[in-house]
Symmetry: C2
Subunit: 222 residues, 2 copies
Amino acid sequence: MRILYHLPLSPFSRKVRLALTEKRIPFELRVERVWERRPEFLAMNPACTVPVLVEENGLVLAESYAICEYLDEAYPDVPLFGRTLSERAEVRRLLGWFDNHFGQQVYRNLLWERHMKRQLGHGNPDGAAIRAGYANLKTHMEVIGWLAERRTWLAGPHLSLADFAAAAHLSALDYANDIDWSLNTAARDWYSRVKSRPSFRTLLVDRVTGMEPPAHYADLDF
Amino acid sequence: MRILYHLPLSPFSRKVRLALTEKRIPFELRVERVWERRPEFLAMNPACTVPVLVEENGLVLAESYAICEYLDEAYPDVPLFGRTLSERAEVRRLLGWFDNHFGQQVYRNLLWERHMKRQLGHGNPDGAAIRAGYANLKTHMEVIGWLAERRTWLAGPHLSLADFAAAAHLSALDYANDIDWSLNTAARDWYSRVKSRPSFRTLLVDRVTGMEPPAHYADLDF
């Protein structure tokens, strides 16, 4: 069986889980405590990050970008990157935006600072970073709202990996109750549509030990 | 004419320049002072980062990842991502490694802290970050050396974008005289081979106002 090594609150793992499920590719989930630096895992991915996908033929894939591009090449039936060169450029521009800019400006300042840093032995949370994270999140919600008001899905007329990358980030933050959904109606309505997809269900039932999500987290009508 | 907006020391711009030249795609370079936040540039790329490529048909591409994937789809004659699914996964894993991990751990701590931060109004260089940058660079040079000792090129038997991404980062650091090439012979020999390619020439003649590269920078036999 295909195996995906992941962490429940890793937005990059969530993105790959959504891609696999949308493409109806069966897989088994294994939690990888990356901070334990397990030698067998390091041998598969020296960067020691999740997600890592191990295919049934033994092929090991690391880095969520590489995994998602591979999935679209190996299993093209449900395309997630758009159809034309121009659509694909826009999907990938937004993937860069969410995985890099949102990742650095929001995920790292909030989820990582507040919940991962101490666990990984990198010291105490930094208040200034957390404040910057909330300020950046507000701006990013406006960007998502702006896109959602003008397009059917974030990258254009088709549902794409850009929607799943953004929703993966937001869902991880939402688990930690870091999102004020009243801030942007268009962003909330778009997220509600992505969250209602069957592929989202397994994400919403995941629980992290010692950390309960808010009541609205798994509610499709939040 | 196709236009690439860039900055001379941006490793992401350098990677795209190498990809374009290896594929023999003609283009014109325009320096974009991203810190000026020019409205016309923001309209093309709200992230306000270089590189941005404007195709002859008007298609605007932002994020170096999106640009490189597009170039390989639109101009497949000189493939830069490998041939098989497994080769492509390895090229992209290393792209993730250099563009994200090396980018955050080395580029951001050295070139950005020392040369860009003040210019962009983000305060003074942080000594601890710079020390961490040099320590990380040493580890990354060992990784490059390890790969170069075991493979013809970094990702395997074929020259690929992984080589150009790594060499783009190193060449930008080398311009600032941040690399001690005596540390790792295998890494130096591999870099010497990439640096000798005709596509590297325009990078090596680039000059940044007020900042002279060391004597060995453009020397192919350093």
